[in-house]
């Protein structure tokens, strides 16, 4: 009796809450509401808190810079109108399910054009919702092949696919090293992105005729990779490749030193070496490590919004007081891709925008933007960097090179 009353009250309250809090359901969104008052509403669900808070913040800066540049120039020319960008940010707490829910929320509000969240898991969850709702998403950070193997039509990634991350390091070393390494050990974290990157790396290694003497993996986010290193030590590889994030990347170099793992050539790692944390944590030991990155300020190409890569770097530094790095560049490029698509489509209708984006073939500060049928930007090359005397310098591809690769690294 008592509990029945309680249940009744709560159910009623919930129903009332739903009714009062949500207002009246109209016929659903559509183009009208997303282009009100000369403004074009765009949604972005980002990891502003949680485990990916740092990368989420960087991504947001890229989107912000894009919006400011576009609006300063008067907005996007859509058909005969000039529309100002109005990006709405929402926190997905680094949780994929929340990201997907926020995409639905955007859809309810009539926001059909979306900029991607940070990280492959959130992007993948968002992509499924985008596909269902008929929205369009420009993905700035989800590189894992999983996202693009499902036949989704409405998600486009401006960045190079995960398979390139390790492969570009191999290319850079085989291009510039003397003597060239003959044997390789491949270490990988066990998350999807790192595994895919390692797979691409292994394929490239085989193509180049190197011998793989060991392949080991360890849990994502671990700071102890000693087991893997102990196992590969006796194999004496010339090159140790790490498909990793920052903490495992630091651990590989640190613990290699502890354990006396000294590859004749040196180390190559994805993601970690370009970040300042890497050098701070390792000091001198960071020197010589080769890393891969989606973007450097030496990237060739220009576009109407940002100009060249060097221009972008300058603008970013003056706006945010920090050096431009690749997460924010990816984000700015995703936003640019959407802007270019809108201009080409001449309308904000999601279907038209989708088709226009799919047909893009443009140069930009980020490199070429051109999507294959899966929505990946495969023509864009990745870049390789090396830490030399405490500085991150670009060593590959040739047209971006600042310094020659030092190899053997030390």
């Amino acid at each position: 009796m008592r509990s029945a009353l309680g249940i009744a009250l709560v159910t009623l309250a919930m129903a009332a809450f739903a009714v009062a809090g949500c207002g009246k359901k109209s016929g659903g969104g559509g183009e009208q509401s997303s282009t009100e008052g000369g403004k074009l509403k765009i949604g972005a669900a980002l990891s502003l808190t949680g485990s990916l808070a740092k990368e989420g913040a960087l991504t947001k800066q890229g989107y912000q810079l894009c919006q400011e540049k576009v609006n300063k120039a008067g907005g996007v020319k859509v058909g005969d109108k000039k529309l100002k960008l109005a990006i709405t940010y929402s926190d997905d707490k680094s949780e994929p399910d929340t990201a997907a829910r926020l995409i639905d929320k955007f859809n309810d509000d009539g926001v059909k054009l979306v900029l991607g969240p940070y990280g492959s898991p959130s992007t993948e969850a968002a992509a499924a919702a985008i596909e269902r709702n008929g929205q369009v998403m420009l993905d700035s950070s989800g590189a894992d092949d999983n996202i693009f193997s499902k036949g989704y039509k409405n998600t486009f990634a401006v960045l190079s696919p995960a398979t390139d991350y390790v492969a570009v390091i191999v290319k850079a070393i085989m291009d510039g090293a003397e003597p060239k390494p003959k044997t390789v050990a491949v270490l990988s974290a066990d998350d999807g992105f790192s595994q895919t990157a390692a797979k691409g790396g292994v394929a490239e290694v085989k193509k180049q005729g190197l011998r793989i003497v060991a392949q080991e993996s360890f849990p994502e986010h671990t700071t102890d990779v000693s087991s893997a290193l102990t196992k590969i030590r006796s194999k004496k590889p010339d090159l140790v490749l790490g498909s990793v994030h920052i903490e495992e990347g630091i651990a590989i170099v640190k613990q290699s030193k502890e354990l006396g793992v000294k590859p004749a050539g040196g180390f190559g790692e994805t993601v970690a070496p370009p970040t300042p944390d890497f050098q701070k944590a390792l000091g001198d030991s960071a020197d010589g490590v080769v890393g891969s990155t989606q973007w450097t300020p030496q990237v060739k190409g220009k576009d109407a919004v940002f100009g060249s890569a060097a221009d972008y770097a300058k603008d970013f530094e003056s706006r945010f007081g920090a050096k431009a790095e690749y997460h924010s560049a990816e984000a700015a490029a995703a936003c640019l891709g959407l802007v270019l698509g809108l201009e080409k489509a001449g309308a904000a209708d999601p279907k038209k925008v989708r088709d226009a984006v799919a047909g893009l073939d443009e140069q930009s500060f980020f490199g070429p933007i051109k999507f294959n049928e899966r929505g990946q930007n495969v023509t864009k090359p990745m870049s390789a960097i090396q830490v030399q005397n405490g500085e991150v310098v670009t060593v590959y591809p040739k047209d971006q090179r600042q310094q020659k690769l030092q190899w053997p690294a030390k």
Binding site: K54, L282, S285
Partner: protein, 294 residues
């Protein structure tokens, strides 16, 4: 053979670090029957204190360790005295929720203050190592192991020889009796918690010179502490050291002969197995017999 020896040495040293992390946790659980879910957060705070002092004032991290210990002792004392003492006799989920809430506060406070970036305290020598033939013994980890042993011995002596140590032990065994004997239980509890927090801070500063850390590392340290405290037996100081070494070795050997991604699974497997088979811990009888609830 070299590989096995190297794995053994490394596992042993890693075990020392694990023990250092867990010893305060085990002490609090044993004496007060509180599972402190914020323990890992204390460890990380210790690492941040040493890191910040090193970064801004250039203070040697081993001196920073003292500062971390002192700071956390004070913080721990206050937290117990003003917060946990209020519900110390309550059903256990209440202290679990309370310390979990504290953990959220500390971890997210650290993110707000220092961002979620990865940090490490660079010493220049911690990654160098002694070489015995092919087997390497890194200085940094050796220092960690030595510290863990010293802390264990020191704590055992402290408990046996000092007034407050005796007070902690007797309160842990029988609170009512301790009170009858004129002990200020509130103070003793707060002191114990402060001591545990100081030990956590010490461990954090030590780890900061060896590993990378970020606010998100806290949960991992708490989980490791569970495993070690259970392995070693609650509140058993030698047990914490032995449990840490055991876990270090099992993980290191497991990493050599099984897939490297299985190390975490091994740790939890061992935990559950020990709880089912011998909940009083592998090493001897529990220090506080009354706490063996199973």
């Amino acid at each position: 053979m070299t590989q096995f020896l190297q794995a053994t040495v490394y596992g042993l040293l890693e075990g020392g670090l694990l023990a250092l992390v867990a010893i305060g946790f085990s002490l609090v659980w044993g004496v007060m029957n509180i599972v402190n879910l914020a323990h890992g957060a204390f460890v990380v705070v210790g690492a941040y204190i040493a890191w910040k002092l090193n970064e801004t004032a250039g203070l040697d991290p081993y001196l920073g360790m003292l500062a971390a210990a002192a700071g956390l002792f004070a913080a721990g004392y206050v937290v117990q005295r003003c917060l946990i003492n209020l519900v110390v006799n309550a059903p256990i989920w209440m202290t679990l929720l309370l310390t979990f809430g504290l953990n959220l506060l500390i971890v997210n406070g650290l993110i707000l203050a220092f961002t979620a970036d990865f940090r490490a305290i660079h010493t220049g020598w911690a990654s160098d190592s002694l070489a015995f033939g092919e087997v390497r013994v890194p200085y940094g980890r050796l220092a960690g192991f030595a510290l863990a042993t010293a802390v264990t011995v020191g704590l055992v002596l402290f408990m046996a020889r000092t007034r407050i140590g005796l007070a902690i032990r007797s309160t842990g065994m029988d609170r009512a009796a301790a009170r009858l004997m004129g002990m200020n239980v509130r103070h003793v509890y707060a002191f114990t918690f402060g001591l545990a927090a100081a030990l956590a801070g010490t461990a954090g500063a030590m780890l900061g010179t060896i590993n990378t850390f970020s606010p998100a590392s806290a949960a991992g340290y708490t989980l490791q502490s569970f495993v070690i405290a259970v392995l070693g037996g609650l509140g058993n100081m030698w047990g914490a050291l032995a449990g840490g070494v055991l876990l270090g070795l099992v993980q290191s050997w497991g990493g050599q002969y099984l897939s490297g991604t299985l190390v975490n699974a091994i740790a939890f497997g061992v935990l559950v197995l020990v709880l089912i088979v011998r909940p009083s811990g592998l090493i001897g009888r529990p220090y506080y017999e009354a706490r063996a609830e199973a």
